[in-house]
């Protein structure tokens, strides 16, 4: 295994033109998030990014990213969705992008996350959200910071060039 600076990762996967929806302080009960997922399913909208976390006092926070084009179609139904989900706040961010960094050694190499977060922070990249599991790390960032993020990640890790 090489040094941290030359750690090899797979080519980046970038999804642009997305909207991040943060449903904050939803009651922790079975089916609380069902209205959202049912709506997305009904309209054939893929979930590009998802995290759910504890918000205290038996509440949860749910953050999803969907295509902005799909968001425009669903926007008229958001108010009713908020009521049905009993969410206390809904925050929107757009346009955002999701960058997926996939590395074969991420799960066995201490310090990799620090390397990635640190490099993005030093380049003044705003990380709205992050979901990391085993070897995959997905960052939600402002869409207009994608090119800078690509350069920074490319300098931090070794990304093989795609074959033509």
């Amino acid at each position: 295994m090489g040094s941290a600076e030359t750690l090899e990762i797979y080519p980046l996967k970038i999804q642009r033109g997305l909207t991040q929806l943060s449903f904050l302080r939803i009651p922790t009960r079975p089916g609380a998030t069902r209205p959202l997922f049912d709506l997305l399913e009904r309209h054939g909208v893929p979930v590009r990014f998802l995290i759910e976390g504890c918000a205290g006092d038996y509440n949860r926070d749910l953050i999803v990213c969907i295509d902005s084009e799909a968001f425009t179609r669903l926007e008229p139904e958001l108010k009713e969705l908020e009521i049905r989900m009993q969410t206390q706040a809904l925050e929107l961010r757009q346009p955002v992008a999701v960058i997926r960094v996939l590395g074969p050694h991420f799960d066995i190499r201490p310090g990799t996350s620090s390397l990635l977060f640190g490099a993005l922070q030093r380049a003044d990249i705003t990380i709205f959200s992050n979901a990391t599991t085993i070897t995959s790390s997905m960052f939600v960032i402002p869409d207009d910071q994608v090119e800078t993020a690509k350069r920074v990640i490319g300098r931090t890790f070794d990304i093989p060039k795609k074959k033509k």
Partner: protein, 173 residues
């Protein structure tokens, strides 16, 4: 008994309509881990980077991260680390509590990450995962998706129950 528990109890007794099972390829579980959830101030710099740098400097391996901004504008950071690193992580974060500005800190010493694959960005897979677990009394501490899996952090004593109810809710090969 809280209102929520009453509703859940009634639903369990009378039974909820059984939805069609969703076909998946498999369910994975991680080795034994520990979870740390920190509430950090949001400022000009990303506070999560500081926490990860300190833990990485102590050779603490991080296998799961959820980071987002909560309703109060704080950064919520949930991490899963190897269980045998927990004491080192706690003492390290204690030392840096002030400089990192840690506002709240909760840990669970024994957790596992359960992952369902493939997710394929399908909304109903995430919905079924969350609802099935909660219907069966398992409250995931944290949930996220990656390119092909959707994963949740569950207390280790609830893992068997979680796997059993998920095996009923999803169709496995």
């Amino acid at each position: 008994m809280s209102e929520q528990s009453k509703t859940l109890d009634i639903m369990r007794r009378i039974g909820a309509p059984r939805p069609e099972r969703i076909r998946i390829s498999g369910i994975l579980q991680s080795p034994l881990l520990s979870s740390l959830t920190l509430l950090l101030p949001s400022g000009d710099s990303d506070p999560a980077a500081g926490v990860l740098e300190i833990l990485g400097g102590h050779d603490i391996n991080i296998r799961f991260i959820n980071k987002y901004k909560d309703s109060a504008g704080n950064t919520s950071l949930c991490l899963c680390i190897d269980a045998d690193s927990l004491d080192t992580a706690i003492s390290t974060l204690d030392v840096h509590e002030e400089s990192l500005g840690i506002r709240d800190f909760v840990y669970h010493p024994k957790v596992k990450v359960i992952s369902i694959y493939p997710h394929k960005q399908r909304p109903r897979v995430a919905e079924r995962l969350l609802t099935t677990l909660r219907m069966n009394g398992v409250d995931p501490l944290s949930t996220n998706n990656a390119s092909s899996v959707v994963s949740c952090v569950v207390n280790s004593e609830e893992v068997e129950q979680a796997l059993a109810c998920l095996a009923n809710a999803f169709e496995l090969p």
